[in-house]
Symmetry: C2
Subunit: 595 residues, 2 copies
Amino acid sequence: MSYQPPVRDHAFLLRDVLEIEKYANLPGFEDAAIDVVDQIIQEAGRFTAEVLAPLNAVGDKQGCTWNPDHTVTTPKGFKEAYAQLVAGGWPALGADTAYGGQGLPHVVNLSFSEMSSSANMAFSMYPGLTHGAYSAILNGGSQAQKDLYLPHLASGNWGGTMNLTEPHCGTDLGLLRTKAVAQADGSYRISGTKIWISGGEHDMAENIVHLVLARIEGAPEGVRGISLFIVPKFLPDADGKPGARNPVFCDGLEEKMGIHGNATCVIRHEESTGWLVGEENRGLALMFVMMNEARIGVGLQGIAQAEAAYQAAAAFAKERLQGRSLTGPKNPDGPADPIIVHPDVRRMLMDSRAVIEAGRAFLFWTALQGDLAHASPDEAVRQKGNDYMALMTPVVKGFLTDKGLKVCSDALQIHGGSGFTEHFPASQYMRDVRIALIYEGTNGVQALDLVGRKLAANGGRAVMGFFAELDAFVAANQDDPALKPFTEGLADAKAKLQEGTMWLMQNGLMNPDNAGAASTDYMHLFGLTALAYMWALIAKTCQAKIAAGDTDPFYATKLTIGRYYMQRVLPDTTGHLAKLTSGSELMMALPAEAF
Amino acid sequence: MSYQPPVRDHAFLLRDVLEIEKYANLPGFEDAAIDVVDQIIQEAGRFTAEVLAPLNAVGDKQGCTWNPDHTVTTPKGFKEAYAQLVAGGWPALGADTAYGGQGLPHVVNLSFSEMSSSANMAFSMYPGLTHGAYSAILNGGSQAQKDLYLPHLASGNWGGTMNLTEPHCGTDLGLLRTKAVAQADGSYRISGTKIWISGGEHDMAENIVHLVLARIEGAPEGVRGISLFIVPKFLPDADGKPGARNPVFCDGLEEKMGIHGNATCVIRHEESTGWLVGEENRGLALMFVMMNEARIGVGLQGIAQAEAAYQAAAAFAKERLQGRSLTGPKNPDGPADPIIVHPDVRRMLMDSRAVIEAGRAFLFWTALQGDLAHASPDEAVRQKGNDYMALMTPVVKGFLTDKGLKVCSDALQIHGGSGFTEHFPASQYMRDVRIALIYEGTNGVQALDLVGRKLAANGGRAVMGFFAELDAFVAANQDDPALKPFTEGLADAKAKLQEGTMWLMQNGLMNPDNAGAASTDYMHLFGLTALAYMWALIAKTCQAKIAAGDTDPFYATKLTIGRYYMQRVLPDTTGHLAKLTSGSELMMALPAEAF
């Protein structure tokens, strides 16, 4: 069975759980009436399933081809699909109307993004990074730069990239060496080699706009001397059309475990022409605009691959006949029962659903906070939105991709030996999703960002606000017997998260290694608690539907999966709390040479 | 850095922890004096590091090639390495002296097996499966069959395979259709297609002996009608030399996620000639001789890949300069600190070591039980050895491979973006190890074997014996303050395991779905407890060395890692117990069509 976009789940989240109609008075949302959103989701489902999904295995098997003239040929069918993407206006969904976009809220755009990533992760990275370049210029570019580049990036007519990493520097951008020399005409000459540039060269767009971190001659060392430049593959001519070839060349492609359909390029800037974005030496802050957006997008990839892998596994489990149910034949006329009768297969399917559905809710909920931070006229709402976006971004990225890998691995496992062969899609999902735990900051970097930066920001305002929100939910609903499994589970998780937070505050400052040693377990404890909250919100919505007489089994199914989450996933909080409060002593005790 | 065989760790386990010299009076062990064993380990390390490890990446990149004449070409260098393997007598290490083997205990042979699997998993599967075929004939074959085949299989001069799976039947062998028709000369004609036959065809041995499950015409349906046959690729002539080609053909190779260097064959028996092994319709029991041995070998692969991946990650973490320590620069003269200064990197390295070292001890300890079951003159010791082998086999297979994947994934993670590229070995280790969770019975099948069969066997004698052994250790050592972290951790884990066991006894019989729903969490709870016991044994050994004045930091390091295990790995027992005792109700609540 091929990928079936979860349109019903998306509509349910946006309409019923997040109730985006409540915000119809806000800019962006006024065009997002729920029936319009429904239509977009339907169309997104159709496009991704019909156009992108059939190319997923093709991209994996063919990969991209580097040609000696420094061009890159994408897998068969990608170019045509990209043209359809642009023609359909999909890249423009969330872009500003001033630059030809449709100006819809980010949370609506996420629905399309998830589906395209499920259908074809490698393909969807091309428009994904283009949108990142769009955002960086929108936030930091001059009006002239915006006018020149944003319409092309919004439409997808031109592609965009992030040029950060160099061979000796990934996480530690302070080490970067790419050089920028100011020219009399206000431009710069950029020299240096960048690696792991996703979509750095391809044959699908008429131009590619590189956003490049480099050090202006004479700039300070470290992160305070890094500037951001626009380096287009073809220099725009007087009419803004692609003109002379800029000497920014793809010198080769990485051979990778997955996402073969995406061109991961070595990019050489041979005195390429670039233009400064924003101020000198302030490039990192602008790059973080792209980076934070990209981190949400990577968390989304975790859920998207998990969804697609889960679907493949569920279909396989219903078709594959092998063995008999422990409680007697369920398919007595067949040679064996479908393997979905086996509890351990169910366990993996239920674990997956429990994480995917609440993980998606968490992703959408976080994106909505971003929209409110941007659009609300209410200062308090904007502040809360900003607080939450900052706090949740590392959790969305780190926790959801860790869980995404787990779901993809379980989906492969459900396929048995077939899963290990490349005739079934499970291997590709697992290989593709693996990068999501690494790029845009490894999950360890996310965890450290969470405990080292985000928790303490503004005196802990964001996390305290989150605790208060959870407490308020529990207080308001704990007397509802139908919601008891949810309020109890949430209250317990929140208590553990609060205990972990207090431990960090007491022990992390005294010894930063304690914070580092606790970080990943804390991030998981946080993610598990956030998903418990999402299940509580979903359960409340479903319970209300059922109380109002709606007999659609959709709602009862959600309640079952949510209760399963509380019973079978949430107990991991105990282990995480025990580990994170055990300190760094033993972890750091051995000298490096003992390893 | 290339793979460094852990010779010191192996010698320490065999000599100091398991004290194999205690058994010098037993058959097999009399030739395994500790200095002989030391020499074997040293040589095994040299051979695997120098001959097999350099071919690991070659095998992954080239894979095997199927030729239209039904032959298979192995990757460049494999054939020569195989010749060296045979010339060195390595396959004969654990084989019976009656058939040209060296008759050493299995536990000594494991040392070589682990190193060859670390060095080159795909390659090591060829002799691994050959040994399985050897064991099946040794256990079930006639004397004539033993005399004809065993010397060739023991030497590795001929290869061996297991022909079980068919397209429609893997786990559920009762469905198999391959047909055997008796001939007047006592042989059978075998017809049918087998899939996923590891080493089913290759160019390294002068003959290949397939052990084939098939159904004799007229045999009962299901598992009671399955017989085992020897089907050699070349029929032995009157002198026992490879003669006429038997029509057993490789029709193609699987395209797989990993172990590319091993030929995974579709094997077509076109009225091939076979000879019955043992009795008619009793083939499954004989196949389980191979299968149980293979399961221990697969658990070993989990540890072996973990060891190799850990080594690569540790080397990378000591070399890669990126960022600064949270507690101030550790490499002030360099541009950045090596990433091993970061607690979260340490966490992954320490988690890995904590599981690998105790996992290896568990593997060796279990193999020793098998040796004692075989060689001890004491009926009680033999019974205990058999009990433990049966009980621990699914835990060794399922738990150690689950953990092996985790270690390989963490090792890839430590590499950052480099890990996702195929220029570093991390991707191959993770792709290779993934199959270990599936073949020879998926880990879910292992868990079900544990809770459904092994726990209850002989009225629970094996598990009760294990509990008594743990209690005895705790009682004997709890007053030793130096061992306190170990006795406390072990006592706590054992109490949880016992609680889980009781829950299963009370709830699993009543409703078998409860046993199935609990099985994987129970297997992990069991494995975590077993590894706690191994750490306790290791700690006691190290503590005694230190008390005796040995100042080698090797022992203090082990104590640190062991204490880390108790503090940072063992807390997972709480979550597993909570999950397994939550029952099957929610897991099984949804109808199949809800997935």
